[in-house]
Amino acid sequence: MKKFVNDPADVLAEALRGIHAAHPELRIDTENRVILRGEPTREGKVALVSGGGSGHEPMHGGFVGRGMLDAAAAGEVFTSPTPDQVLAATQAVDSGAGVLHIVKNYTGDVLNFEMAAELAAAEGVRVESVVVADDVAVQDSTWTAGRRGTGTTVILEKIVGALAEEGADLDAVAALARRVSEAGRSMGVALTSCTVPAVGHPTFELPDDEMEVGVGIHGEPGRTRVKLASAHEIAKLMVDPIVHDFGEPVGPAIVLLSGLGGTPLIEQYLLYGEIAPLLAEAGVDVQRVLIGDYITSLDMAGASLTVVKADDEFLRLWDAPVVTPGLRWGA
């Protein structure tokens, strides 16, 4: 395993140490492994709390800051955080206006956030939850734990964070979060496996001439394994199921093409050069686009595409100022 690590058991604690050193504007609750804004939540502002397994950086800790999250609970690598962690985050940022939990739809995340929400409610904190389930690779959601939550989470955190910053109340914030969540679809492709530090070897074996289509961000195998294809063909494998899943014409949209951690930017741009015309052809009118590593899967070579159907409110809030380690503009 070729990684910058010491004892694999210490990866999370030590990464938090680095985040602390690099971002004096944030606070780190070392014991609970929670990343928080430097300032307490403004009176009356609804707080946004997210979290999940580590290994997806900059998500979520890198999205803590003005205009986005108030706190993020960092689980072990690929393991959702515990209720204690989420509760600590929730209590630390509640100003009395309530807290929105942003949860990606994995059994572990859902159960742990659910328990945390129950505990927080018992402590008198008003909590609403939104569960993001945007991964179209999971086709038959009747027979599964439902779709996984992936890239839409990033876009949701930005948009809803902006509304919370404007002072909207918890119901309005939660309602918007659900609207964004429902407007998003994602699809990922892996060219290689990732390697979990505590395991020390790749999660799955992928022959040199194959790739995983519909891979999950935890390095779970995808729906199908196919022959390695050109960027042009891969773009189709990503765009088609998303467009098909929307069913209706998409129109204006916010698009995220995220590298999964081991794919350099030059390839991401090349891939986007193939994706853009396909989206246009399919009637997706790309209003805003982000390209880079925003939701990753450790060192996996691959990419995920997210399309969020966007109305004017989404776009206005998208453009609002944001100041976080992972996303910054307007300030």
Binding site: L111, N112, W143, G216
Partner: protein, 211 residues
């Protein structure tokens, strides 16, 4: 009553469960690599290490023991297995008489599994830990009905759990992370079923060792 299972026995069980999970840690992770995200071994090992650390102060009763075990798992494991195993143990405690005979212990274990089902909504055949636990409980009750003591019931349960574990292999997962794989999840044993088989095997071994 020689059948009585004491707090000490139960503490010994939890320690044995930790040791078994540590021993099979890489195996559990390998199972989770095939149809999940390669962390079930480290998740369970981390949680049970934390549990055993807490047991330095010996618990006064099974109720206290299982509250500690359950809370510690919930607060140190994360993932799907943290809340599910946590709930399992949290539900055992209150349902247990002290000391417990085979019938009482069987009822308590059933309360644990019912907690798992209530939390996770898994049905039999969904390819989860429940598919090792339910057959174990059924075997337990059968053994008790045939006059077995706790030791005998646990032995039958362990064997049934292992059969249940193995029977998850051909199944298509419908709960948890493995469900995303659809048909491709078939052909692999469910990692949670494997750790649950260890749970019953170590209970049986502990009661057997006690003589």
């Amino acid at each position: 009553m020689s059948d009585a299972v004491t707090t000490d026995d139960l503490v010994a069980w939890i320690r044995a469960f930790r040791d078994a999970v540590q021993e099979h840690r890489d195996e559990l992770t390998a199972l989770d690599s095939a149809i999940g995200d390669a962390d079930h071994g480290s998740n369970m090992a981390r949680g049970l290490d934390a549990v055993v650390a807490k047991l330095e102060t010996p618990p006064a009763s099974p109720a206290e023991l299982f509250k500690t075990v359950g809370m510690t798992l919930v607060s140190s494991v994360g993932g799907a297995s943290g809340p599910l195993y946590g709930t399992f143990f949290l539900r055992i405690g209150p349902a247990l008489t002290d000391p417990a005979d085979a019938t009482a212990l069987g009822a308590a274990l059933r309360a644990g599994t019912e907690g798992v089902v209530a939390r996770g909504k898994a049905e039999p055949g969904d390819k989860t830990m429940v598919d090792a636990q339910l057959p174990a409980l059924a075997a337990w009750d059968d053994a008790v009905a045939s006059g077995a003591d706790a030791r005998g019931a646990a032995a039958a349960a362990a064997q049934a759990a292992e059969q249940g574990r193995d029977a998850t292999a051909p199944l298509v997962a419908r709960k948890g992370r493995a469900s995303y794989l659809g048909e491709r999840s078939a052909g692999h044993i469910d990692p949670g079923a494997a750790s649950s088989a260890l749970l019953f095997r170590t209970l049986s071994d502990t009661l057997a060792a006690r003589g």
